[in-house]
């Protein structure tokens, strides 16, 4: 399997003396949909900044698709598309001009640039806005335009730094579908996000970065399997008794309000045991959901272990 990104002992100390990255080593395979998670100030944007050459590293090596970024700068930049966290386009230009200009920066002939701009603006639902000044776009449209801009040269590696920040849920889900399509067509995607549900839904592999160090690097599946405590909220059909509480090894049931129960299942037991208990008590369940996002629980537990969690 080809490695899309390989960083070794990556370090960044800013002029202010702040050490943002302290020897990060990481490999991301070609075709992966990879989540890079971490609290604010953990070093995610610095990591992305170094990959995109906007931030100069103070130590370590970076390879993109096997090529050293220092000796193969042109090819590595050509392979890379970046959607930054902050809005970074001219607010006075038209949508199509921004995308076309980016195509020109990558050396695309005009005819091809027009075709690509149309293709990605249409796919991202912005074709009708192509002649609109970018400052007049909504927040979600601005984010989508930055994705179209990053894709116009069809990079093999797309880096998205919180692409759905401030985007409403409906639009976010349509962006997820689009990104999954792009990924299934072969584009390697690296995503940072504060929406852990997003990472759980989209990504196959994950790294958690905290205070400039990688504290977890595994597959999403393995990580979620490590979670041995699951909390659910069960919505009931009828009013519950005031004193409803049930405890047994690996299962705790307690009343949340008149029509809902919290079930905490652990020690290898599953939700069926909770439903069996409730059935015996004559309580009918109408619906059920996870109390908290599973990845969120793991994320917070890892941060706590590394000494940065709030809990």
């Amino acid at each position: 399997m080809t490695i899309a990104i390989s960083v070794s002992k990556l370090e960044k100390v800013y002029a202010s003396g702040v050490a943002a990255l302290k020897g990060v080593s990481l490999e991301i395979e070609q075709g992966d949909f990879f989540a890079l998670l971490g609290p604010n100030g953990a070093g995610k944007s610095t990591f992305i900044g170094i990959l995109s050459t906007l931030v100069r590293r103070t130590g370590g090596d970076v390879r993109i698709f096997g090529r050293d970024v220092d000796t193969h700068l042109y090819q590595t930049k050509l392979d890379l598309g970046v959607v930054p966290q902050e809005i970074n386009f001219s607010q006075f230009e038209k949508v199509a001009d921004i995308v076309m200009t980016q195509a020109g920066y990558y050396g695309l002939p005009r005819k091809l640039a027009v075709h690509r701009a149309e293709k990605y603006l249409k796919q991202l639902g912005l074709w009708e806005k192509r002649d609109t000044r970018s400052r007049l776009l909504s927040g979600g449209m601005k984010r989508r335009m930055m994705i179209a801009r990053a894709l116009v040269h069809e990079p093999r590696l797309l880096i998205l730094d919180e692409p759905t920040a401030g985007v409403d849920i409906e639009l976010r889900r349509s962006m997820w579908d689009f990104l999954l399509d792009i990924n299934s067509s072969g584009t390697t995607i690296v995503l940072t996000t504060h929406y852990l549900e997003e990472a759980e839904q989209l990504c196959r592999n994950i790294a958690i970065i905290d205070e400039g160090n990688i504290i977890e690097n595994t597959s999403m599946k393995k990580l979620l399997l490590e979670l041995d405590v699951h909390a659910y909220i069960l919505d009931t059909e009828h009013d519950l008794d005031a004193d409803l509480e049930h405890k047994e090894p690996g299962l705790v049931l307690r009343k949340v309000d008149s029509h809902s129960i919290e079930a905490v299942v652990s020690g290898g037991r599953d939700i069926n045991s909770a439903i069996a208990v409730l059935d015996r008590l004559g309580i009918r369940i109408l619906s059920m959901r996870n109390k908290a996002n599973r990845l969120e629980q793991l994320f917070l537990s890892r941060l706590r272990e590394s000494g940065n969690g709030s809990g």
Partner: protein, 257 residues
Amino acid sequence: MYTNHKLIAFETIVIKEVRRFMRIWSQTMLPPVITISLYFVIFGNLVGSRIGEMGGYRYMEFIVPGLIMMAVIQNSYSNVVSSFFSQKFQRSVEELLVAPIPNYVILSGFVVGGMARGLCVGFIVTLVSLFFADLPLYSLSITVGVVLFTSLVFSLGGFINAVFANNFDDVSIIPTFVLTPLIYLGGVFYSIELLPPFWQLVSRLNPIFYMVNTFRYGILGTSDIDVAWAFAMLVLFAALLFGACIWLLRRGTGIRS
């Protein structure tokens, strides 16, 4: 990067720059034309008629080359400084920095954009000046050569200003407190023969003095200085500034952290 890719990238930057100053023509093109036209009317026509001759020419004819050059200098400089700084400010410069474009292509694109504005304004001002004075055009090659090199030098100067600028005040400080005094004291409105020897010597330390005089020589055929020497200075300035800009871009000063 393949040559045709570089050319496309260069062309893209230039088109973007030209589109920018044409889009806001009422801020970029109109004010300098109105200002310089007022100079023609007030200094050239009204005051100039009382002055008589300067350097063997009517005062109006004497100041026209200097005023055209003033327009070229100010607009070449301010186009690059304001465009590159606003791209830094809006962070849209990152679009350029992540793309596979060599530094010299980025610099050339901005500089040609600045020269385009300087030359456009200079051309319009020249047309306006024809209503006030006859311009004999002594040497087309010297006239065009000096105006091209001057706009090149000041576009490069504007780029350096933009690289170091951290706020909008930094963009206006150099044009207001350095450029304007140097232009006014660079022999636009008078011949340095009118000055005492010491101040003639000081005037010769002002690079704009050489540009204005060489341009005047190209149009009128009269100058306070040796034209070949002035051209040599211009080429030297352009080379030094180009080198400095490339060095700053390579270091990432003001644009990479």
